[in-house]
């Protein structure tokens, strides 16, 4: 705050704003204005209004809404549409906390697998479940009052769930695939677990259309654990992802897709199958 009672007269401020004062006079005036609220106010009518409006629009924009997360901005550069980006940025299943806990789990599983030469099951148990559980989380709770809004919006809950599902798959699969590269044994193992992982997604969705995602998620998890752990004792470690089994997964996925299609045609329930 200024302690003096001196104030710049309008003509002097006008000359300053117009750039007509020399450097020394400008410097003195700036020194004063920086400390004098009244003279700062007196500059207001002299300032470039359109410039201030333009800058204010940008400031307001930033204060009103947080910028989209970095990963989503990256996806936008790769072609994700802006409205979808807004929707994805609010999806709980794409939050950093969720993703990082998945990665920690997978990290432990990878380490456990690496500890012994002929053991593959910890990785096979965890990796394919990550995308499936992510998709289950992508549903959100239909009874959640926030989700209730999505139900009556023209965008539709089905589309929203599918969008989140794609978001989950795109974020989890590449990273999980990277972990797979550390696995011992033949290189195809790193890719082969994608088979059950992708097949379980439609199976989950088909189940969810009957019993809801909250029940379907654990059910699929139990089934997969049964397959992997059941094979541990007597079968070779790669049994759950060998060719014959992969065919079974593909078959299951196709059946699940058919069920989903039939459900969405016949259901009279508003809000569709998902």
């Amino acid at each position: 705050m200024s302690t003096t009672t001196w104030h710049a007269d309008p003509a002097l401020l006008q000359a300053y704003v117009a750039g007509e004062l020399d450097a020394v006079l400008s410097a003195s005036l700036e020194r004063h204005v920086e400390r004098c609220p009244e003279c700062r106010g007196a500059v207001r009518p002299l300032a470039d209004g359109p410039l201030l409006d333009e800058a204010w629009a940008g400031v307001r924009e930033r204060v009103e809404s947080r910028p989209l997360p970095a990963a989503i901005r990256l996806a936008q550069r790769l072609g994700l549409r802006e409205p979808s980006a807004v929707l994805l940025s609010a999806a709980a299943s794409l939050r950093l906390a969720w993703l990082s806990s998945c990665l920690v789990a997978l990290g432990f599983a990878t380490v456990a697998t690496l500890m012994s030469e002929d053991r593959l099951w910890p990785f096979l148990l965890v990796a394919p479940l990550i995308p499936v559980l992510g998709v289950a989380a992508a549903y959100g709770d239909a009874d959640d009052p926030f989700e209730a809004l999505a139900v009556t919006a023209p965008y539709g809950r089905t589309r929203l769930v599918l969008l989140r599902t794609v978001g989950v798959l795109v974020t989890t699969l590449p990273v999980a695939g990277l972990f797979g590269l550390f696995l011992p044994g033949p290189a195809w193992i790193a890719a082969a677990w994608f088979g059950p992982a992708l097949a379980m997604v439609p199976v989950l969705m088909a189940l969810a259309s009957f019993i809801g995602p909250r029940m379907a998620g654990p059910l699929v998890t139990i089934l997969w654990c049964g397959v992997v752990l059941g094979a541990v004792r007597e079968l070779p470690p790669t049994w759950p992802i060998e060719a014959t089994q992969q065919l079974v997964y593909v078959g299951l996925a196709l059946v699940a897709l058919a069920v989903l299609a039939a459900r969405s045609v016949h259901t009279r329930k508003i809000g569709a199958a998902l």
């Binding site: 807004v86 929707l87 926030f146 809004l149 009556t152 965008y155 929203l160």
Partner: protein, 286 residues
């Protein structure tokens, strides 16, 4: 007509929430009045396309929402809905939340969308709170955020489940102003269990009890049903539908036989409502 319900039934498990409801609404504000559990929320959810009716005919904005996805989506494009309890993602800002809902309502062009979000924020008087996290807003402010999302895109059908909850008198007055502007071109259906709200906000009132429509008409007509059945007595009167001691020390008597010596009183909307619900009104929260 924007809303046409004919003989609509809806039940959850064993309980029947709606029984043969007929309702036809044009533009203007209609209040849905009834005790808790009367089926108000169920009826609103049917009109908001949140749930499907079990039986009966539903036509919204001239379309059948059950006729398929395309028709349903067309109805939803002109629909605004404020659920009774709206959860908010607490880490979103007011603006961010409304922008999210606006995308769900197919405002795809960013500039137009943000303009629309600012418009509804202005309408509910929250323009200056737009940068705040929803977690930091007061209850009344949050309710107004909910109202703002329902107003996005000037819907022709606006369904509001207890919009006055948590609002102080000044905020109610603002709500009344906002809705009266909207109601020129739109159908507004709102629920409440307070007769003051209906008297203040609505032209038309529908009384719902046990899943059935008990009354459907203007507010004045509802009040008129109680003429000649309300008295002021000096002593407590047995046999009345409802009686209570007023601030002046006299007893207001609603319904029942004419108490000897009591003088007739001008009925209010509340008297008429209590009379309409009959003895079951006694179990209502005051």
């Amino acid at each position: 007509m924007n809303v046409e319900l004919t003989a609509v039934d809806k039940s959850y498990g064993g309980t029947q929430a709606l029984r043969g409801v007929d309702l036809t609404l044009g533009t203007g504000i209609t209040g849905l009045l009834g005790p808790n559990g009367a089926g108000k929320t169920t009826l609103l959810r049917v009109v908001a396309t949140s749930i499907a009716a079990d039986r009966g005919e539903v036509r919204l904005l001239g379309r059948d929402p059950h006729a398929g996805h395309a028709e349903l989506t067309r109805v939803r494009r002109s629909l605004g809905y404020l659920p009774q309890e709206l959860g908010y993602p607490s880490d979103m800002t007011t603006f961010g939340f409304l922008e999210y809902v606006a995308v769900l309502k197919e405002w795809n062009e960013r500039r137009a969308r943000r303009h629309e979000v600012r418009r509804v924020l202005d309408l509910v008087g929250l323009a200056e709170q737009s940068g705040k996290r929803i977690a930091k807003l007061s209850g009344g402010q949050r309710r107004r955020v909910g109202l703002a999302q329902a107003l996005l895109g000037n819907p022709r059908l606006l369904v509001l489940d207890e919009p006055t909850t948590g609002l102080d008198p000044a905020q109610r007055a603002t709500l009344r102003r906002t809705l009266s502007v909207v109601a020129h071109e739109s159908t507004v259906l709102l629920s409440t269990h307070q007769t003051e709200d209906v008297a203040a906000l609505c032209e038309r009132v529908v009384v719902l009890a046990d899943g059935e429509v008990r009354f459907d008409g203007t507010v004045v007509d509802l009040v008129a049903t109680a003429v000649g059945q309300v008295w002021l007595a000096d002593h407590e009167v047995p046999g009345a539908v409802m009686t209570w001691r007023t601030g002046t020390g006299r007893h207001r008597v609603v319904g029942g036989p004419h108490p000897p010596g009591a003088e007739p009183a001008e009925p209010t909307l509340e008297d008429a409502y209590l009379l309409m619900l009959g003895p079951s009104a006694a179990s209502l929260p005051a």
